[in-house]
Amino acid sequence: MIEELLALAQWHNLRFLWQGLAVTLQISVLTIIFSFLLGTVLGVMRYSGHWLLSRLAAVYVEGFRSSPLILLVLLFRFTTPLKPVNSGTLAMSLFTAAIVAEVVRGGLNAVDKGQWEAARSQGFSWIQILRYVVLPQALRKMIPPLIGQFITVVKDTSYVWVTGVEELTGKGVIILGQYGTASQFFAIFGLIGLIYYLLCWGLQRFGLHQERRMSWLTM
């Protein structure tokens, strides 16, 4: 068993997994950025109550939210000319944006309506109220569900393996082809599980820290 593990614990194997982790991180970070931007716009649209914009946002949100992520990943893989890693990132971003939009809408709804009247009486425009008064307050409410969703993003990057993108889980499965004994198998999956665990745990700590840092924004 020791020899099996020593055979596995080689520099090139670790580098192989590291490459997978880099892909996982790349997809995660891009998805978090894109989905946050698009989700905020969609959430504000749905919150605005505008007859057309809010309906468009609702159709988008319900449509994407009701689809399995794997379906979107495969759909974008086969119906766009993008590289698999990019079509996967796109699918994940559009999917996550639908969920972020609901978080944003929930956060906005939680802000007291009196804030609108107060700000309007001070001469703020609609956009200004949103930008300087309501969104900052909503943001603090949004942090716990947002972080929860971003942890899901990190975990869900593993779905992109279905299109052959060699992210962390994919690399692990590939490495199994060469190192298939029981002890090697448990070592590989233990290590991969630990990496995901640390990523998710770190993200959660970061979220708690941000929430505390913004405690001056009392609600």
Binding site: L74, T157, S158, T169, F185, F189, Y197
Partner: protein, 229 residues
């Protein structure tokens, strides 16, 4: 829009049986996994609120291990680990176990929150009014707990239905797998994926609406608006 040409749709309707088979597999897998996750959720939810430190630790370990690692990795782990332990299970069973344990961790959190939300005084108040323990549970505790637990539980069921598509990654014969293999052999991705999306939508959207409805109802009753009713 040649990706959605009419003859491609025609081919799909000719092979409709493949998709119905897939839907059946999805329904049975998701249904059984849901039962497993509910059982595990109740068990670990109760452990998490139990007076025993070891019970609470076991529950916390289960929940954090499952929630901080991907479902895909867990499914592949099960898929490859069981043969090492000389256990050979059909692929759908691997899917049921994986999905059940994954969502069981989320259900455990739902039940933990539900149990903790009901003040202990409620039980004592019921008992002091001459209710038996069972009656207090039936008429006092459970109706309140259900109001809190039902919406997130239903949302978990929706997530479970969507996640059951993970069977496609281990050739589990579910709806997603059938659509994927059908379109891989015909090349007609557009109609196949759109149809499958519609099926998932018609399963998930009503359930999500129901959860939302219950959520709003319970929020209203807790803020006291419908107290008079």
């Amino acid at each position: 829009m040649d990706r959605f040409a009419a003859f491609k749709w025609q081919a799909l309707f000719t092979d409709w049986r493949i998709f119905v088979d897939g839907l059946g597999r999805t329904a049975s897998t998701a249904g059984l996994a849901l039962l497993l996750s509910l059982g595990l959720g109740v068990l670990f939810g109760m452990l998490a609120t139990s007076p025993y430190r070891s019970g609470r630790s076991v529950s916390r370990l289960y929940v954090s291990l499952i929630q901080n690692t991907p479902l895909v990795t867990q499914i592949f782990f099960l898929y490859y680990a069981l043969p090492h332990l000389d256990v050979v299970l059909p692929t759908p069973v691997v899917g049921i176990l994986g999905l059940g344990f994954y969502h069981g961790a989320y259900m455990a959190e739902v039940f933990r929150a539900g149990i903790q939300a009901i003040h202990r005084g409620q039980l004592e108040a019921g008992l002091s009014q001459g209710f038996t323990y069972a009656q207090t549970m039936r008429y006092v505790i459970l109706p309140q707990a259900a109001e809190i637990v039902l919406p997130p539980m239903t949302n978990q069921a929706v997530a479970l239905i969507k996640n059951s598509s993970i069977l496609a990654m281990i050739s589990g014969g579910d709806l997603m797998f059938q659509a994927d293999s059908w379109s891989a052999s015909t090349g007609y991705y557009g109609p196949a994926y759109l149809t499958v999306w519609l099926i998932y939508f018609s399963l998930c959207f009503p359930l999500a609406r129901l959860a939302k409805h219950w959520e709003e109802k319970s929020a209203r009753s807790r803020s006291g608006e419908v107290k008079a009713a």
